[in-house]
Every structure is written in C-alpha cells, then in structure tokens.
C-alpha cells in the first residue's frame, strides 16, 4: 500500500498565527502540537478553527506515552478524540516513547528498550489509542540519547514489527534517525533500508545541535546538509510522501521556513526522478 500523498507543510506555531490568519500561505497542510489545543476554549482553539478553514491539519502529540505498561490515560484519549472530531485532521501521530510512570510525568520523550515485552506493550496501547480515536495512529521514531542493555532488536526492526502487528502507520523523522545514528553509532542508511516504507505516511525534517558529547534534537536550526542527504535517500525509497519541517526554537519569519520547504519540494522531486 502506498500512503496517500498530502504535500508539504509546516508546524503551526503561535509566532506565525497572524501570518496564517491574514495571508495566503503556500503550504499543503499544517501540523500542530495536539496538547496545545486540548484546552477548554479561548484563543488557541479559535485560531485553529480559522486555520482549519484554510488548510488541512495534522495533530501531532507529545503526551500519549505509548510505551506505558499501565495502558493509556483515558481522559487524555477522550480529550484528543474531542479535538480530532472538531478538527477532522489528516491524521493523528505521537512518538515511540513514554513520558512517565506512577503518576509522574516528565514531559519529555523518554526512550524505550526494544524488547518483546515493550513491543507487546506498545502494540496494546496502539490498539487502545486507535479504538479510542477511531483512526489509524502514526508513530514517530524518536531521537534517543541512551540505549538499553536489555534491547533485543534494533529500533528499525521494532518499528517495522510494531507497524505490522498493530496496523499503525509510521511518521519517519529523518533528523531523529540522523541524531540517533550519530549518538549510537549505527548506519542511518541501514536504518532506511529496513524501514517498511509502504507504512510511512509522513516525514519530519528538522535541525539539531551539538551537545557536550551527543547530538541533541533541538529543532532550533535549519535542516542541515546531512539531514537533507538522508531525506534524499528516503525519497528514493518511497513514492511521494507528506513532508513537513519542524521548528520549535529560534523560530524565523515564516517566509524563511517557506523557502526551506521549497527545498524539500525540489529535493523530493529530484530524488524521485533519479530513482525512477
């Protein structure tokens, strides 16, 4: 199955609300952080409703905690469902991670060990989420800074098996592959070779920063050349796939991001023509 193509989009961030409300912005979709709009009312939802009249919207979450062995928070799922029913998104996504345990919430995307036990937990949670949301969920590969001794398989094998068993689709973050490959010393192209691209519905692009010893997924820089090169590789392996640029810090004027998105458009077309 080839995923339906939905074009090229940007994250909708408050600094650009006014642009999106007053200009014709040449994007095929916008992606929002779901939790920022899982509120009771007021300006955020008002803005999102207006933007939705102009653009398709993707709901991208950070708090589902799909790796929680105790199952998912029903209140969270109910609120996400209400937002999804209101917005009618292209799709709903979250990360392959967990955020806390025992009532504690770190509000960070914490890494999972890639074990059969974790796979069973995530599959069960994906099923719970897809049933509660009435939609297929997309799961994104995270940037990670540790690996677990207990891991029994690679991240790419975990994702492929997760998708096969649970029916979820994949949001492939090319920057996260680059960051994790650099941090853990694996071959990013081998990762791409193993990805079941027929399950990939969306690609994320972003920049990162050099930390003390590791690369950090900071979303505060333009997409760097090595990530573009990896995007080219991904595009050669898949048909047209929805692509979006994430920028969450040091956010530039919208026109700069639109120029960067044009690069994604042309590189995608170029890579696919080379592969044809």
């Amino acid at each position: 199955m080839n995923a339906p193509f939905s074009g090229f989009g940007l994250g909708l961030r408050p600094v650009h609300f006014q642009d999106f409300l007053t200009r014709t912005v040449p994007v095929d979709f916008v992606e929002v952080i779901s939790e920022n709009f899982m509120v009771e009312g007021g300006r955020p939802l008002h803005v999102l409703d207006q933007v939705r009249e102009r653009h398709p919207v993707i709901l991208h979450g950070v708090s589902m905690s799909i790796g929680n062995p105790a199952g998912l928070d029903r209140d969270y799922l109910a609120r996400l469902r209400r937002l999804a029913d209101r917005i009618d998104p292209l799709w709903v996504s979250d990360h392959l991670c967990w955020t806390g345990t025992g009532g504690f919430n770190s509000h960070d995307l914490l890494p999972l060990p890639y074990t059969e036990e974790a796979l069973a937990v995530v599959c069960a949670n994906v099923a719970q989420a897809q049933e509660a949301l009435g939609r297929t969920l997309l799961i994104e590969n995270p940037s990670t800074y540790v690996t677990f001794n207990a891991s029994e398989m690679s991240e790419w094998d975990f994702l492929a098996e997760l998708s096969r068993r649970s029916g979820c689709e994949l949001l492939l973050d090319v920057n996260n592959i680059f960051v994790s490959a650099s941090n853990h010393g694996f071959d990013a192209r081998a990762y791409l070779d193993a990805v079941p691209f027929e399950r990939v519905r969306q690609i994320h692009l972003a920049g990162h920063s050099q930390g003390k010893t590791l690369l950090i997924d900071t979303h505060d820089h333009p997409v760097p050349d090595p990530v573009w090169a990896l995007y080219d590789e991904a595009c050669r392996r898949v048909g047209p796939v929805a692509t979006m640029i994430e920028r969450d810090d040091d956010i530039p004027p919208l026109d700069e991001l639109l120029s960067e998105l044009d690069i994604a458009r042309s590189r995608s077309a170029q890579a696919r023509s080379e592969a044809a």
Binding site: M38, P69, D75, S106, H107, D108, L110, A150
Partner: protein
C-alpha cells in the same frame, strides 16, 4: 528487569532518587536529566513572564528550580504546571508580598486565557427575570483573589513595557477579579462590596440571598443601590453568562 521496573528506575534517576538505571543503559542519561528540568523551567518562564521580569533572572530561577524539585509534574499537560508557583514565591520572598501576588495574577490570567468559552448574557433579558427566584451564573473563567499590594499596577506596567512603579502595600485589603470576555483575559481591581458580592455568588448564593446579605450588612437603601451598581458592572464586563429564575436552580450557600 521488567519494562515497568526499568521505567521506575529511569524516573527515580530524573528525580534524583535512588536508582540503578545507570547499570541498564549506555549513552548519556544526563541529557534527559537536564531536559526534564529545562522544559519545566521554560514552562514557568513562559507562564510567569512578568514575575520573571520583576524578579530578575537569578531570583526567578532560584525559586523556579526549588519549585521544580519540590513539585514534579503529574498531569499530562504542562498547561497546569504553574499551579501553586505563587505559593513557592511567597515562601521564597515573605517580605515582598507583591511577588507572589503578581504571580497569582499572571496564573489567573493564563487559566482564563484558554478556559471554557461562555457567552455573556444579553442585558435585554433583565426585564423578563423573576428576581425573587433569580440565580446569576457567572462565566466559568472568573477567579477572585485578595491582595494587599499594587500587583495590578506592576502587571499593567510590565505588560506595557513601561518602568513599573515601586511595590507598595495598599491602604487596606483589596481584591482582583480575573475573567475572560470573548477571547481577552481581563482583570479588574474591585472594592470590598463587590468582592463580598462576588464571593457570595461564587459560593452559590442566589440573587435573593445576595440582596439579603448586603441589605443586612449595609442597610436596605445602600444594599439595594450597591446591588444595582454591581449588577451593572458585571453586565458591562461580560461577567454574567446567564440568569435563571427557576427555583430548582438554587444551590446551598457556602460562603
């Protein structure tokens, strides 16, 4: 080690509690230790921007870091993490009550910003109300706080990028109410009579009870005049979502 146990150890590491996670991983755990605190610090800076500006970087960060260590988040949304930060500031700055009051005001405005939507009542309905059985239903974003300082003046100056006045104690106890009208979160300093009336309504008093209490405390004539004045302000400010006049709408008074 089970996944659940691994996660408990990971969280214990984040919270500086005894754990064995370092024996279970390769890589740099410190990235997570740092990111957890940085995320919460940024959340408090964003939510309490004016308190941060008033306090300065060093004092704000000291209080924020103490708050983060004492209050690990439990909700799935960071939207509520600011709850109680005004109390932490009060503990850190007991001699400067304007700091905690400024933080309370910022927090109340933040909660009103994305609180539940509600239309304001159309003043035209006033003529049709059976006031004997009337109950005022306020918009759900209303919050009321008692203050002893000029925190509202500080907030206003900081919001306008003006030099704030010196912190001052008010001549007597006062109150601020916060609410949202349309999409705009608002606040207003209110006098003691309006504060009394608002506390009664928020506590469940119906209109007849409100009138009776103010008449008993202020005398019939002044009580009636004040009710009219306050009702006018609340209608103008969009504070009243609805006025019902069915006897079953009455709630037990809990002021």
């Amino acid at each position: 080690m089970t996944l659940a146990r691994l996660q408990q150890d990971f969280c214990a590491y984040l919270l500086d509690r005894p754990n064995r996670i370092e024996t279970e991983v390769a890589g740099d755990l410190e990235v997570y230790h740092h990111a957890y605190r940085a995320q919460l610090l940024n959340c408090l800076r964003d939510t309490f921007e004016k308190s941060w500006s008033w306090l300065g970087d060093e004092a704000f960060e000291a209080a924020a870091r103490a708050h983060i260590e004492a209050h690990p988040p439990h909700a799935w949304t960071l939207n509520v993490y600011g709850e109680g930060f005004d109390r932490t500031l009060a503990e850190h700055h007991p001699e400067d009550p304007e700091i905690a009051e400024l933080a309370w005001l910022e927090w109340a405005l933040r909660r009103a910003f994305d609180g539940p939507d509600a239309d304001s009542v159309d003043p035209a309905v006033l003529a049709t109300i059976d006031w004997e059985n009337a109950v005022l239903h306020l918009v759900p974003t209303v919050r009321l706080g008692s203050v002893i300082t000029n925190c509202a003046a500080l907030w206003s100056a900081l919001a306008e990028d003006e030099t704030p006045p010196p912190a001052q104690r008010l001549p007597g106890p006062a109150a601020i109410r916060v609410w949202r009208k349309g999409l705009s979160a608002k606040y207003r300093s209110i006098d003691a009579v309006e504060e009394r009336a608002l506390r009664l309504v928020l506590g469940g008093a119906d209109f007849a009870q409100l009138c009776a209490v103010l008449a008993a405390e202020l005398g019939d004539e002044r009580g009636t005049a004040e009710i009219g004045r306050i009702l006018g302000i609340w209608l103008q400010d969009g504070l009243i979502a609805a006025i019902s006049d069915h006897p079953s709408d009455r709630l037990p008074i809990s002021d």
